[in-house]
């Protein structure tokens, strides 16, 4: 019975994860490796069974895969935005990066008005700064450019 390509990728990913953990475990001394090795080997066997057993009902398979029934294009767009958030946070830090992300995300992804966009990003950024930096005296990550 045919499986969804995405499910196959995840199953292969699991096999790869446990398989590589088995291989890496062998590089450790016996006392350090035996527990990860047992876990990885058992996990590998289960992942192989999961990969090779025929799917009983196609509906079951579809149900699992389509729990998030969305267009792949929109999904890709959201992942691109998550990538932008990551780059912003890593480069200019959590406070500035978050505020900047909010401004462009609200404007260009959600198509909000400029006034709402600017208001939300400034207020959220200010609240985060006041709460963490001032009230809690925590220095949030400042990004690779400012660290």
């Amino acid at each position: 019975m045919r499986s969804e390509p995405g499910t196959r990728s995840i199953q292969l990913g699991a096999i790869l994860l446990f398989g590589s953990a088995c291989i890496v475990s062998w590089s450790y001394p016996p006392k350090a490796r035996w527990i990860p090795l047992i876990i990885a080997t058992t996990g590998l066997l289960i992942a192989l069974v999961d990969f090779f057993i025929p799917v009983q009902k196609k509906e079951d398979e579809k149900e699992a895969c389509n729990a998030l029934d969305v267009s792949p294009r929109r999904e890709l767009v959201v992942w691109l935005w998550i990538g932008i958030l990551f780059l912003l946070v890593v480069s200019v830090g959590l406070i500035v990066g978050s505020a900047a992300f909010l401004a462009i995300f609200l404007k260009f992804f959600w198509k909000e008005k400029w006034t709402a966009t600017i208001l939300v990003s400034v207020v959220t950024g200010a609240c985060i700064y006041l709460l963490f930096n001032k009230a809690f005296q925590m220095q949030l990550y400042r990004g690779i450019f400012f660290e």
Binding site: I10, I35, I82, L140
Partner: protein, 504 residues
């Protein structure tokens, strides 16, 4: 003893003490509500403010704050699927689906009420167990800790669902991930990918924030909907079912009592952590429920059991800290340091000589929990509305807040990468039917299991530790707990077949 009990109670109600109790409760709530911040942070932040206070008052402020942090944490878990700590994870499994149905108020109220009762019971347990705490503590050694962790896995059997192999893959992946970091025997780094960051292992907070909160916000952004779907908003008066949640908690009073008891005992045993207590209580609720099919889809019993458990642990934890100077958690370690600084030296004698102080601590836990529940029940109705905010605002703001929550505790690049990475993993697991619950159980319990298995093997020079009576007893309960859901499923199927053939 009664005099000490009474003077402990009276000392809490002095005006200058009581207002600190109120302030502590409010601060604990607020910090708990912010995803990623937890009890240890709250205590570390407050301690500098207590240096100018009278020691007794400082203890009240810190304990009241600590007592309700978990309750505050359950709100962000229920409303936004953003559990701030491992102990709030079951609240998000069961509470968030209820929020999506427009029943966030009901879930918050049930969580608050069960937390309050759990906390109050733990305070009573703290008072009641003072004479026998030494005996309980000494009867638990690494073999029993190991077997308790095995027992806690048993509830995974109830989460298996339609894809047993995928659940098993998830649980083993979680356990494997828990082995990342310094090996407990030879102190060698394992699976650290050549980075120092992974020497300490994968940190729980960024993992949980990524896997649950970030992945959920990504899901909402992809679907373009808010937490409470538009179709639900029209039909449900959000926040109007708060008292239903309170009522349901009292209807399940025996479950609350059992879970608080289990958690109090686990709390006494150092090193097992709030997560194990919560997972065990959640598992217990699942296995004894008449409606196990509702678990994972918004079971009120799941919330009640888990929340009674995570607050119920505190009394026991404090007792061990006070009596033996052995802190059961990072928060208790901070408290212990503070106690020593202000001249309260933990020892078994302290339970005799400073009994009024110990009782006043127990009363603070009880009263802070009750006050906290009262605030939540009042505010829950309005807080539930947060889940109904328009999708663009809610998703965007929560996305950045959860990323900050994941990274805030240690403030390093590694935590940020971990949060994003597990956001991706969590999204894919949801998409392809791999249980995130099973994964997180494997991860949280993996470390406890490995450490105690290795210790047991070293102490007993082999598997002889399995013949200890208490270990054997716990093993028997674990086997029963693993087998029970399968047996119940088989029995229900047989009943259904019988019913069908009778009809024919």
């Amino acid at each position: 003893m009664f005099d000490a009990w009474l003077s402990g109670l009276a000392s809490v109600f002095y005006l200058d003490t009581f207002y600190l109790l109120l302030i502590g409760t409010a601060i604990g709530y607020m910090i708990g509500f912010i995803p990623g911040l937890a009890g240890a942070f709250a205590l570390a932040m407050l301690i500098p403010f207590t240096f100018s206070m009278e020691p007794g008052n400082a203890v009240v402020l810190l304990l009241a704050t600590h007592a309700v942090v978990m309750t505050g944490g359950s709100y962000s878990a229920i409303l936004f699927n953003a559990p701030g700590t491992g102990a709030n994870i079951p609240a998000s499994w069961e509470g968030y689906p209820l929020t999506q149905k427009g029943q966030g108020g009901r879930a918050i109220a049930a969580a608050a009420t069960s937390s309050a009762i759990g906390g109050a019971i733990s305070g009573i347990v703290l008072m009641g167990l003072i004479p026998v705490v030494r005996m309980i503590l000494l009867s638990f050694t690494p073999p029993e800790f190991f077997m308790l962790s095995i027992l806690a896995y048993s509830f995974v059997a109830g989460l298996v669902g339609k894809h047993p192999f995928r659940a098993l893959v998830a649980v083993f992946a979680g356990i494997l991930l828990s082995t990342v970091g310094i090996d407990p025997v030879l102190a060698l780094p394992r699976f650290s990918l050549g980075t120092f960051y992974l020497w300490e292992g994968v940190k729980l907070v960024p993992l949980v924030m990524g896997m649950f909160a970030v992945s959920e916000m990504i899901k909402l952004a992809v679907s373009g909907q808010g937490i409470v779907a538009g179709s639900v908003k029209g039909g449900v008066k959000i926040g109007h079912d708060v008292f239903k949640g309170v009522k349901e908690t009292f209807q399940h009073w025996f479950l609350v009592l059992r879970c608080s008891g289990i958690a109090s005992i686990i709390g006494i045993i150092p090193g097992l952590g709030a997560e194990l207590a919560t997972f065990m209580c959640y598992g217990h609720a699942l296995q004894t429920s008449k409606h196990p099919e509702e678990f994972g889809k918004g079971s009120i019993e799941g919330i009640i059991g888990a929340e009674a458990g995570n607050n119920g642990k505190e009394g026991g934890s404090l007792l061990t800290t006070l009596a033996f100077g052995v802190p059961g958690s990072s928060s208790m370690a901070i408290l212990l340091g503070f106690f020593i600084t202000i001249g309260i030296v933990p020892s078994p004698e302290m339970l005799k000589q400073n009994l009024p102080l110990v009782f006043s601590m127990a009363w603070v836990i009880i009263i802070a929990n009750i006050l906290g529940a009262a605030i939540s029940i009042f505010a829950g109705r309005y807080m539930a509305w947060l889940s109904a905010v328009r999708a663009p605002l809610l998703v965007s703001i929560l996305l950045v807040v959860t990323v900050i929550g994941g990274a805030a505790t240690h403030n390093n690049l590694g935590d940020i990468v971990t949060t994003f990475f597990f956001g991706f993993v969590g999204y894919q697991m949801d998409k392809y039917g791999y249980s995130k619950a099973a994964f997180i159980v494997g991860f949280v319990l993996g470390k406890i299991t490995e450490k105690n298995l290795l210790l047991s093997l070293q102490i007993y020079q082999g598997v002889g530790f399995l013949t200890r009576p208490l270990t054997l007893g716990l093993a028997a309960i674990a086997i029963f707990a693993f087998a029970w859901p399968f047996f119940k499923r088989y029995r229900d199927k047989a009943k259904m077949r019988g019913g069908t053939s009778n009809e024919i």
